[in-house]
Symmetry: C2
Subunit: 606 residues, 2 copies
């Protein structure tokens, strides 16, 4: 009961099913909920590019500009592709659904596996980067970063367990603050530099061509920056959460998202170039830029705080996506059913709890280090991009709607470009951790298929087609007694209430105890016959099983119900002091057909 | 079934209770089983003394001679005291029994706690020292010592699960080989030195008095050597395992034990002195002595092998003692009952398994390092010596049998000397790990008393004194259905076999499903009425609990039996895919009075 109240305090009172339709998001709130992931990545995408480039010396850092422009182009291509998807799938067009519809089960499961992995990583990476923003500003907290990460994950999970509308409201303000703060900083920095008011000290210009750095390192830097694209697919996945007209609103939000995302990412990358920022130490690149432009004053701290908040929001996006995809997979029976049921606040509680658990494990294992986590990231989302855009190409070719030919081109370019990037990612990041994801995707697909096959086989076994119900059962009720006391008397009365022919069974290990029990039985046995089974090997189970065999030997339809008195202790540590016999018997009977064990609870007072 | 066969292979076929009396030990076998612990300690006791003395420089090593003589005297005092105990307690006179009899419950529990700790440490220390004997001879195995230790513990545990007589037979030969080998080595070394055939290079003679070393270090060295005494109490504990006349045979074995033990310990200590052995490196002192006397040849390897075997035997002693003491404690209800029941090979299987588990944990935590484990050791056994001898003093003063006055003196000296040594041990080893034991003993005593109080309270609650059985129960049988298939039909038939008025209950979350179910119910419901409970908050439990409340509201004696179809999957990993609802309902009903949940198993085929 106390646990129940605690749940209510954190999660809120249950919401009735009838309220479901009202839990929808307006455009402005939807941008806050769905766009926070791609927007927040400006907090680390530029830094990751610089981290790779600096390996070739600080002269190579200026390659960040062409790489940044390439990634911005990639963002625009992917956004345009996905706006097509939203139009075609107003009921929600995640890669899983779209691929299943157009390419078949196998590609859809590949996309699903990739996305589930990426959602977990989004939570881990975003929270780690958010905590890095805090520890950049307050270095004293750096040693506690792992714990701060786990606390943040739990906080976001609890918010989500309260339900999607409330989450949107809680998270709307920080997104807009972040957008305004970063765009303000970019405007201030770029404008100040243009007017010559700020001391610009850009990176040394790089040598023409790639001789100084090597193609592999260049591609690695590009791959590192691709983390900027994670999360843009979330809108297409979540179209049904928009207020109607859902598809229309979602397409508008998608366009906003593209524009804001590209502006912020290019702005930060340019500022890093212009101010000559070198990555490293325990401080983020964004923190270094802000410190140079604003000094360590209120504006700086506001930016760090709001960066942390937007990153928590990004983590939050996955808390909408992961349970939603799990729901689809559970509905199609590729994962256990419990992911398909809504909790009492109209959210998929199981998915939320699992996601928080997996992300916390990752954060603890990688000790909350963004740079260690990032090589695993982005592969999953590019798998889903490629699968999803290929599915759209297939769809246009199949349906041939108006304008199908330019749509084929649009999605075709999207599929080709994201496919090439995916290969680049897998190759350049393979040894740094991407191999884990490359192995995990086929493993998950195999697991999905195995679960599905199991559920199908069970359904076939349980089918009533051509089934003839067996004749009514005979049921022998046995109370197992080891002594006689109030708990046993309750069990005997229970057995009598089930069957007038109930019998008590006692397994004799020490004849002295049998004699004592038989003495008391006359007074307390309530007319139930006592059957004594002797046990030369002191085993409780052996004689009992033999007796049951004996009862059932002539009749396929003879069920034996074993009634056991069970103590329900008042305190948890007392559990180890009782019911060992009951557990033993339940375990032994688990795999026997036509034997049922019933505990009659006796509640202990102390 | 396969698990069962595996158990038979390792543990053997069950033994009938009637065979119990024959499981007794002859004197020679008893010496092998019970005396191995004190005898085996010569493998490390001398080394531990030298390890402390060397801290004061190698000149201090010659203090090992007076310390060795002191410890030999202590052994003889304790042995003489215990021979009195055996005479007085032919039914088994462990410290727990003797203290309970003469001093009361509290001192007896202190002794019991101390002994349980010491038994675990005996296993850990002996196995670690045994593996050290092996790795001294084969240094290549040194990196794997922790694993070797755990494998050895499991091996000894399995041997013990087979039963006490067979264990004695398996272990008799190595004890005698060890005694002969060590005494042979001592004779060879001492004789050779006396005849001038061996190059003796004794430690430099130490300065008169203790100026060069300090009293504390001297006492610490003495304490370290006291590990030689652990295990001498085992014989008095295990008198009933001897062939009759039990007490007589046990006293003879005790005398042998004292004589052999003192000779071997003094011999090794003298040889270390005479050969100028300095402790250290990854080689044991005994190994160094043997290498000097015999070279690294067959005699050397024989001695190392046999040392390892005797140390496994020492560990084995605890596998007889720990379960026996646990049995007494369980009989008196200070620990959970399951320690009081014999397994099907006439041994206390639970105690054996727990002991092996705890010792393995210690070995892993301390990485199989004898020197790290030894400071925790010996405190427990000296607590039990002191309590046990004090109890005997009290007994003689109370009974005043013939010769009581000299017996009081004998046990009185024993109690006083062991008490003083106990204080010395606790003080000199406190910071090195003895504090763990000093804290653990009162913690265990508190746990014993708590468990006992709980069992007493339960017995009072269950007592039939003045109990009036309530009137017969009414029992409403409900089948909870979510769908209709073969498993549900079996559950419905089961419910019908229990009660002609059984009802089916369905919690409605989606009205569409209700309609489908009602359609099928006419054909497959077998005449059982279907009750539909609506659930606006999608909770399965809420409406069910309300309905049960409604059924029970007027009648204290109204029991509700909930019948649930339960899937028994064919493979373990499928467990997560089924029965979530059943688990949820069982959990919710656990703390409700007068509600019983019965699973009707349905066995899945794949």
């Amino acid at each position: 009961m106390r646990l129940h109240r605690l749940k209510r305090l954190f999660v809120g009172t249950p919401l009735p099913t009838a309220q479901q339709r009202h839990e929808r998001l307006g455009k402005a709130t939807a941008l806050a909920v769905f766009a926070s992931d791609p927007l927040s990545s400006v907090a680390y995408a530029t830094e990751e590019i610089l981290f790779v480039l600096v390996l070739a010396g600080s002269a190579a850092l200026s390659y960040s500009l062409p790489i940044g422009i390439g990634i911005a182009a990639l963002i625009l291509i992917v956004i345009s592709s996905y706006r097509q998807t939203i139009r075609a799938y107003p009921q929600g067009g995640g890669a899983y659904i779209v691929a299943k519809d157009n390419l078949g089960v196998f590609p859809s499961l590949v996309a699903a596996a990739a996305l589930l992995i990426d959602y977990v990583l989004t939570v881990a990476v975003s929270v780690a980067a958010g905590v890095a923003a805090v520890t950049s500003a307050v270095p004293e907290l750096f040693p506690y970063r792992t714990w701060l990460c786990v606390v943040a994950v739990v906080g976001v999970a609890v918010t989500n367990l309260r339900g999607v509308r409330e989450s949107g409201q809680i998270f709307a303000a920080p997104t807009y603050l972040f957008v305004v703060s970063v765009l303000g900083m970019v405007a201030w920095g770029v404008g100040g530099a243009a007017l010559g008011m700020l001391p610009a000290k850009p990176y040394e210009p790089h040598a023409p061509g790639l001789e100084g750095i090597g193609l592999f390192l260049f591609l690695r830097a590009f791959s590192a920056g691709c983390t900027a694209l994670t999360g843009v697919e979330a809108v297409s996945d979540g179209v049904p959460a928009f207020k109607p007209p859902e598809a229309h609103n979602a397409r508008i939000v998608m366009a906003w998202l593209g524009a804001i995302s590209v502006t912020m990412f290019l702005g930060i990358t340019y500022l890093a170039y212009d101010l000559g920022i070198v990555p490293g130490g325990n401080e983020t690149v964004v923190s270094k830029i802000a410190r140079q432009l604003f000094g360590t004053g209120p504006l700086y701290f506001e930016l760090q705080a709001v960066t942390m908040l937007i990153l928590l929001l990004a983590a939050n996006t996955s808390f909408a996506d992961f349970p939603r995809l799990s729901f689809f997979l559970a509905r199609d029976r590729f994962i256990p059913r419990q992911f398909g049921t809504q909790g009492d606040r109209l959210v998929f509680s199981n998915g939320i709890v699992i996601l928080a658990g997996l992300a916390s494990v990752l954060l603890v294992v990688f000790q909350g280090d963004t740079h260690a986590l990032l090589p695993l990231y982005a592969i999953g989302v590019f798998v889903s991009f490629t699968v999803s855009q290929s599915s759209m190409v297939r769809r246009w070719l199949r349906l041939r709607e108006t304008g199908w030919w330019w749509r084929v081109w649009l999605n075709g370019i999207g599929a080709f470009v994201t496919g090439v990037v995916l290969l680049t990612l897998a190759v350049t990041k393979f040894t740094e951790g991407a191999w884990i994801v490359v192995l995990l995707i086929p493993t998950l697909v195999a697991a999905f298929l195995t679960v599905r096959r199991h559920y199908e086989e069970v359904a076939a076994q349980l089918s009533l087609e051509g089934f003839e119900p067996p004749p009514p059962m005979t049921n022998t009720v046995l109370v197992l007694v080891g002594d006689i006391h109030r708990g046993v008397i309750k069990a005997i009365q229970y057995a009598q209430s089930l069957s007038p022919t109930a019998k008590a069974v006692f397994v004799e290990i020490d004849p002295e105890r049998t004699r004592k029990l038989e003495e008391k039985w006359g007074k307390w046995g309530m007319g139930v016959p006592l059957i004594v089974l002797s046990s030369p090997y002191r085993s409780l189970l052996g004689p009992l099983l033999e007796y049951i065999d004996h009862l059932q030997k002539d009749d396929e339809n003879h069920v034996v119900t074993i009634v056991l008195p069970e103590f329900i202790p008042a305190r948890w540590w007392q559990l180890g002091l009782h019911n060992q016999t009951a557990l033993l018997i339940k375990g032994a009977m688990l795999f026997r057909k036509n034997v049922t064990v019933t505990d009659v609870p006796y509640h202990l007072k102390h």
